[in-house]
């Protein structure tokens, strides 16, 4: 505390003090502790916590491989169907989990919001950490599966780092919108699970995005997770498909708009969170 210089703050109705991002930075330790709390609490019931992270994507992978690969006989772009499904499941479950948690985060922490000040943005941001740990666990399983099928990772695996950053940005951008809307409208929370459910089937999780007709490919990339999922497959597997750059650029643009507008809407409404929550 002694390290921070003395300053005068002015609290008024407009609250457009230019210290917003300065404030965020000075509370960076809290971001760490909130993330750390969520991870600790999640994995304190260790067995259930880890089992959940392992079992859910594995089961879904088996069902999807069976339905899309065996029954519908969709193409797998030159790799084993289960591998293709599971490599998509990694970013998808990360995105869906992070989105769900950040959307609910303000309501879950309503007590803190009504009793103490800190930049509210930290709450939805900190929830991403738990999903990142889950992603790490799933990634280990993925490597195990790859070894089982005799697929070895190449230097392309490094592309996972920017891909994960993109997925974080997408989840946070949408999560900020939903978190703020959840405070304002009490019926909004019924919409979020619906979106993640639909998203699972609309995104190329159970199938390869090559089954989409060529002239629809660009429009399909408006869903930002399309490029992330394609990227994961490209980075991990020995598929015979190349990256589709127009789609990637469109996805990045969509994600940027989501994040910028998410921060804008969140800042616009956060002053009233304590009154409405």
């Amino acid at each position: 505390m002694s390290t921070i210089e003395k300053h005068t703050i002015v609290i008024s109705s407009s609250n457009t003090h230019g210290r917003y991002f300065h404030d965020l930075w000075s509370y960076r330790d809290l971001l760490f502790f909130l993330s750390w709390r969520d991870i600790l609490v999640r994995y304190k019931q260790t067995v259930i916590g880890i089992a959940w992270a392992v079992v859910r994507p594995l089961l879904t992978m088996l069902i999807f491989s069976f339905v899309f690969g065996r029954i519908a006989k969709l193409p797998s772009s030159g790799t084993a169907y289960p591998l293709m499904v599971f490599s998509a499941m990694l970013p998808w479950y990360f995105f869906a989990g992070a989105l769900t948690d950040s959307s609910n985060s303000l309501l879950v922490n309503s007590n803190m919001i009504s009793k103490v000040y800190f930049p509210r943005l930290l709450i939805p941001a900190s929830t991403i950490a738990v999903s990142l740990v889950d992603l790490g666990i799933s990634l280990v399983i993925m490597l195990g599966l790859m070894a089982w099928y005799g697929v070895w990772p190449t230097f392309r695996i490094l592309a996972l780092i920017p891909l994960i950053v993109i997925a974080i940005t997408a989840a946070l951008g949408l999560g900020l919108w939903f978190a703020a809307l959840n405070v304002r409208y009490r019926d909004f929370r019924y919409i979020v699970p619906f979106i993640t459910q639909i998203g699972l089937y609309v995104s190329p999780v159970g199938f390869s995005s090559t089954v989409i007709p060529e002239h629809w490919r660009l429009a399909y990339s408006i869903n930002p997770m399309v490029s992330v999922i394609d990227g994961f497959r490209w980075a991990l597997l020995d598929t015979n498909t190349d990256l589709y750059f127009p789609g990637i650029i469109l996805s990045l643009a969509v994600i940027f708009i989501l994040l910028a507008s998410g921060i804008w809407y969140f800042r616009r409404t956060e002053n009233t969170f304590a009154d409405e929550i």
Binding site: M1, S2, T3, I4, K6, H7, T8, I9, V10, I11, S12, S13, N15, Y27, D29, L30, F32, F33, L34, W36, R37, L40, V41, K44, N111, M112, I113, S114, K115, V116, Y117, F118, L181, R184, Y185, R186, D187, F188, I191, N271, T272, A274, D275
Partner: protein, 417 residues
């Protein structure tokens, strides 16, 4: 800003209360918002004839005052006077509707003890988490860790999840983290109302120490003793405005006076709307005279006068008696009924009597609530207080003595053969 720590100018905070018919709408619905937007976009749809009415309620109305550096200010007032709203604005939890507050220096606010504590985490983990929530950096917390643990007296249980702590240990740990913040300005709300007497004394001691170091303190309390002991200045709020500003000795008598209303023992309440309204509560003595000073040897009757405006199926009243922050008992007007009958609109009285020789000498407060199991309609707390003293019975004898253990007088009888 020579030596002004806090400068408050024309501060106001309003809340909008939306009514639909007689119901108060607490939450907006996303579905409704979409329909409204659709109606605005699509032409020729019937614009909604709104049967919603909006009411603006000013929790704080044009408050201005300055606080000098190193001043300890006590803020007093009845429930709903605007004390908590003021603290929340000063702590940046909510923003004002009008006016501004200028604050020079680091602010720490303590509106609740243990904010952010997680029951599954250990004492050690919670110290770090709570410290960060209150604005300490990791290095700060590490540096003060031993002092925090020492003050809280929980060394042995540091690695136990706090859900296994006794409530006393929990409170001590939570207060201890907050007490080791080193802000320039400390904002404290009624946190001392919880915990046992020894804990309260310890907290007050710590706060005095903080005040002694030349820090500015803004302190809300219902405990006039604490305000007198600790503060150099007191500000009384009433219905969102400043009613009095001066030394505690000047202001506290005014506060003590407001509860007594026009005549001692009669408490009138503003109409809050709603289906059930309590307009008066009368405390009266054995001679049926309203009073707030009772003899230990006389019964105390509590009469609630209320109006019911619509058919209520399960209306109940509850009285909770409190002394020094401890609830002594709670009683419902329907306690003896096997079945709760509907109440038709009209005016009613309900009377409860505390038998004589039950309460020891001291100050008591009543909380009166009205509602159905589904909805709390009225909650009056902190406003009705009364004193019990004994002039006619000798306190040296018998179980009336205040230094006997226990809060109330033993209600039973001994028999020996």
């Amino acid at each position: 800003m020579s030596n002004i720590a806090i400068s408050i100018k024309n501060l106001g905070k309003s809340y909008q209360i939306t009514h639909r018919g007689r119901d108060v709408i607490r939450y907006r619905k996303f579905g409704d918002a979409l329909i409204d937007i659709a109606k605005r976009i699509i032409p020729f749809t019937k614009k909604k004839i709104s049967h919603e009415t909006k009411e603006t309620f000013w929790a704080l109305d044009d408050i201005s005052f300055d606080v000098r550096q190193g001043e300890q200010i006590g803020i007093i007032g009845r429930n709903g006077a605007g004390k908590s709203t003021l603290l929340k604005i000063a702590s940046r939890i909510t923003s004002p509707t009008r006016g501004s507050i200028e604050i020079a220096g680091r602010v720490s606010s303590l509106l609740e003890v243990g904010t952010g504590f997680h029951p599954e985490l250990t004492g050690r983990e919670n110290i770090f988490l709570n410290g960060a929530v209150l604005g300490m950096s990791r290095a700060d917390i590490r540096r003060r860790f031993d002092a925090i643990v020492d003050f809280a007296e929980v060394e042995k249980f540091l690695d136990t999840p706090v859900k296994h702590y006794s409530s006393g240990m929990y409170m001590r740990l939570a207060f201890s983290v907050a007490a080791h913040l080193e802000p320039d300005i400390l904002i404290v709300d009624e946190v001392l109302a919880v915990g046992d007497a020894a804990f309260q004394r310890k907290c007050l001691g710590k706060m005095k120490e903080v005040g002694g170091q030349g820090r500015t303190v803004l302190f809300v309390s219902h405990n006039m003793g604490a305000i007198t002991e600790f503060c150099s200045r007191a500000i009384m709020l009433e219905r969102g405005t400043i009613k009095a500003d001066g030394t505690p000795a000047q202001v506290i008598p005014l506060y003590a006076g407001i509860g007594r209303g026009n005549s001692a023992g009669v408490f009138s309440f503003k109409d809050s709307g709603g289906p059930c309204h309590i307009d008066r509560v009368l405390l009266s003595n054995i001679h049926d005279q309203p009073s707030v000073d009772f003899e230990l040897s006389e019964p105390i009757s509590i009469k609630i006068e209320y109006e019911v405006r619509e058919l209520l199926t399960e209306l109940q009243f509850a009285i909770t008696l409190n002394k020094d922050g401890i609830d002594l008992f709670q009683t419902f007007d329907t306690d003896d009924d096997h079945e709760i009958l509907p109440t038709i609109p009209g005016r009613y009285f309900a009377t409860y009597t505390i038998p004589e020789k039950t309460l020891k000498e001291g100050t008591y407060s009543l909380r009166i609530t009205a509602g159905t199991p589904a909805e709390l309609m009225r909650d009056i707390s902190g406003e009705i207080t009364f004193e019990v003293a004994s002039h006619t019975l000798s306190l040296l004898k018998k179980s009336y003595r205040t230094d006997r253990q226990g809060i109330i007088i033993s209600p039973g009888h001994w028999k020996q053969k």
